[in-house]
């Protein structure tokens, strides 16, 4: 476990990306309820952490974050960066009014965007591949993850708003 390691391009770019991403979360027009915003941020963060502690560490150890294979402060900044990705997925799902017919295109688009982001992260030395892992492997992982996220959000958005609308009507009648 180390504190920061060498403060260079990966740390600086992580800080810039993370601040910019959270500015988007704060200042984007409100399309999601607070509960969903909270859930989407946590969904993004935990997805990143689950992958990093499962295939990015342990027996597989397919990639390294920042300067070492050990825990460091900027790993936390990196995990925090996943949060706005989760938010953006659900935000644009609403903005673009995604339905069954457009679901596949939306998920595939996000998977491609994820691969592009990974490629950028490797160039900036935020991620370093090891143990025969390479960028093309990221595509099926993103495709699977975004599909699960999309299906889960579709389920939540069909189950949850009805209850909220009922509550709103109840509050208004009172």
């Amino acid at each position: 476990m180390i504190w920061i390691g060498k403060f260079d391009i990966n740390e600086i770019s992580l800080l810039i990306f993370t601040v910019a991403a959270y500015l988007f979360v704060v200042f984007s027009p409100k399309k999601l309820r607070r509960e969903i915003t909270c859930m989407s941020l946590l969904w993004g963060i935990s997805t990143g952490i689950v992958y990093d502690f499962t295939i990015g560490g342990g027996l597989l150890d397919l990639y390294r974050e920042n300067d070492t294979n050990h825990y460091e402060f900027f790993d936390l900044v990196y995990y925090a960066l996943y949060g706005p990705f989760g938010y953006a997925f659900m935000y644009f799902y609403e903005v673009m009014k995604i339905r069954k017919r457009t679901f596949g295109y939306y998920v595939a688009g996000w998977a491609l965007f994820g691969v592009l982001a990974q490629w950028l992260f490797t160039i900036l030395h935020i991620i370093t591949y090891q143990n025969n892992y390479s960028l093309p492997f990221a595509f099926p992982i993103f495709l699977f993850t975004q599909s699960v996220t999309g299906l889960f959000y579709h389920y939540v958005s069909t189950v949850y708003p009805n209850k909220k609308l009922m509550e709103k009507e109840k509050i208004q009648t009172e």
Partner: protein, 160 residues
């Protein structure tokens, strides 16, 4: 053997959660599950990988069993416990739920030591028990925070 046992425990946990009468909404349950998962993943990483107090098996199937326990079984048992009982249950009842649930997770942990999925180097089962109790209390605090700062604020917006 360990993989089959943990796959079954994971399956039982999912079924129990699925059939349970829940007092929390789907979004509340998701938020709590994710918070407990994040804490548990970081805790196990620190204890197993960084500090080496406990080690996991390098056999592939045993490692998958360890992943099931870490990422599915423990967060789900905490979630089942948080959904258990009435909302207005007394502090004593809540504490009883937490202790029983922590003992169940402790039993699951003991099975992993017995089946050599994990090996204790410099650790006590009492530390594990304290951590599991703390994990439940963390879940309760997150729920309180969520109700106060997320749900009530949203209701204020709705009533405007």
């Amino acid at each position: 053997m360990a993989f089959a046992v943990y796959f079954f425990i994971g399956w039982i946990s999912i079924i129990c959660f699925f059939v349970q009468k829940k007092k929390l909404s789907v979004v509340e349950n998701t938020v709590l599950f994710l918070c407990v998962l994040i804490v548990n993943l970081n805790w196990t990483w620190l204890i197993y990988e960084e500090l080496g107090f406990i080690t996991y098996s390098h056999d592939t199937w045993n490692f998958i069993a360890y992943l099931i326990k870490r990422s599915i079984v423990i967060p789900l048992i905490v979630l089942i416990s948080l959904n258990f009982g009435r909302t207005d249950a007394s502090l004593f009842k809540k504490l009883t739920h937490i202790i029983v649930s922590s003992l169940v997770i402790l039993a699951v942990t003991s099975i992993s030591h017995y089946l050599k999925v994990t090996t204790v180097k410099d650790w006590s089962i009492l530390y594990d028990f304290s951590y599991y109790v703390a994990l439940h209390i963390f879940g309760l605090l997150i729920h309180k925070w969520y109700q106060t700062y997320i749900v009530e604020k949203e209701n204020e917006v709705l009533t405007r």
